[in-house]
């Protein structure tokens, strides 16, 4: 280690730059995760409603995305789409890649939740004169989401952390601004310790927030809350 001395002062002096990066990370995460989750829930529902027609394309999408790195998906969108004439800013490419990536993981998670609903539940619902839509909405989708909420939450946090990869295409989010501050100050280790701490705080806050949302959507004492608690870790 020799004479290395930690100097955080030059890093903190650039905190405005880092805060701008943090703001973009929050925006990317918020937009990408809500739309990605929506896409996933939608595809899982469609796949459940019309298995004959949609099972094959949905499964192909899920497998393709889940077996290739997020970085490569990002590069294909960022470099590939403009080469066929679709103009994109780096931010738009990043959002697109996040939605595409999280959409596949959410589809898979929600699908597993839907398939965990026993057929007898659906038959019971129909025998109570519920319409097919009511059964789907109250007997299939709601319990499925309650059951997979903890897994979805973990995936959302992972996606937020993965937004750091968007710095590869020079989206000025938190990691990219960290690199800027690093090249200004030459305090590499200090910069990345600071930014790592910010990501960690963000991840912890997000876990808390998602647990809170889960508690509101699937409240304790209800059947849905019980399903959520059973699958929670």
């Amino acid at each position: 280690m020799g004479g290395f001395q930690f100097q955080f002062a030059p890093v903190f002096a650039r905190s405005d730059v880092l805060l701008e990066g943090l703001w973009l990370t929050l925006q990317l995460s918020a937009i990408g995760i809500s739309l990605g989750a929506l896409l996933g829930i939608l595809l899982a529902m469609l796949r459940g409603l019309a298995p004959g027609l949609l099972r094959w394309p949905v499964d192909a999408y899920v497998e393709l995305v889940r077996n290739t790195p997020f970085l490569v998906q990002l590069l294909i969108i960022f470099f590939g789409l403009p080469s066929i004439g679709v103009k994109l800013t780096a931010e738009q490419a990043a959002i697109g890649a996040i939605i595409l990536n999280l959409g596949a993981y959410s589809t898979e998670i929600v699908r597993a939740g839907i398939e965990s609903i026993h057929r007898s539940q659906i038959e019971a619902g129909l025998s109570l004169a519920m319409t097919r839509w009511q059964v789907f909405r109250h007997v299939v989708i709601a319990p499925a989401l309650a059951r997979v909420w903890p897994s979805l939450s973990s995936q959302f946090v992972l996606m937020m952390l993965s937004t750091s990869v968007c710095s590869f295409i020079s989206v000025q989010e938190l990691s990219a601004t960290a690199a800027n501050v690093e090249s200004d100050t030459f305090r590499s280790f200090e910069v990345y310790i600071t930014v790592t701490a910010i990501y960690l705080a963000l991840a912890l806050a997000m876990r808390g927030l998602l647990a809170g949302i889960g508690a509101v959507l699937f409240p304790k004492g209800s059947g849905l809350g019980r399903l959520r608690a059973q699958s929670g870790r």
Binding site: L64, I76, G80, V165, Y199, R207
Partner: protein, 218 residues
């Protein structure tokens, strides 16, 4: 000068997968060893030790792999040793794997029925003997499927080390794309190579999972 995307570029990309595979294997060996320790500490009888391991897992799982990579890269260079980037890359991947494998294996150890602990204690086994002869052999069976599943995550995340100049698959794609500017062909090849590596592992994980459930009644 713009080169065309020909057979030699294609082969360059596919051949660079050897670094992706090497990194994955190194991370599995190093991270597996560390992760095994994490899992044992996480299931220790001493609460402070358990909290320490839980803290490690929670921390690594709350940090982007990219940050782990930079911290390893600059941290190791602060230690004064001039090392090739592949070392920092392997270290960061191993740290990342240790937390996830530690958590997977903790779950496997804890899902062995608690009566197994009691029964083996009643046979006057030491803690080490309990692990060696009773708990771990059962935990390993439970752990296989999720561990194989995690290998897919590991392969994909090695793409991130391209930023410190290790010419693995993703970096090879970038280099070729800069020379040919045929992004769909280039990154299509890169994606296909990852897919060819990852998909069989995913299928294997799913099959192992299915088999495990089939053997356990209820």
């Amino acid at each position: 000068m713009i080169r065309t995307f020909s057979e030699s570029e294609f082969l360059f990309i596919v051949a660079s997968a050897r670094w992706t595979l090497l990194l994955t294997v190194l991370a599995l060996l190093l991270g597996g060893a560390l992760g095994f320790v994490v899992a044992l500490v996480r299931t220790s009888r001493l609460a402070p030790l358990r909290m320490l391991a839980a803290g490690w897992i929670g921390m690594i799982q709350g940090i982007p792999v990219l940050m782990l990579l930079f911290l390893s890269y600059y941290g190791l260079s602060l230690a004064g040793v001039d090392m090739p980037p592949i070392v920092a890359a392997s270290v960061s991947m191993a740290l990342y794997a240790s937390a996830y494998l530690g958590e997977i294996w903790r779950g496997s150890i804890q899902s062995v029925a608690w009566q197994q602990w009691e029964a083996s204690a009643a046979l006057a086994m030491s803690r080490a003997q309990q692990y060696r002869y009773v708990i771990l052999p059962q935990a390993v069976r439970i752990a296989v499927a999720p561990t194989v599943g995690f290998v897919v995550q590991l392969v994909k995340n090695t793409s991130i080390v391209s930023i410190i100049g290790v010419v693995e698959l993703a970096r090879a794609g970038n280099l070729v794309n800069n020379a040919t500017f045929a992004p769909f062909k280039v990154f299509g090849t890169v994606a296909a190579t990852y897919f060819v590596i990852c998909w069989p592992i995913s299928l294997l994980a799913r099959r192992l999972e299915g088999r495990l459930h089939a053997r356990r009644p209820g």
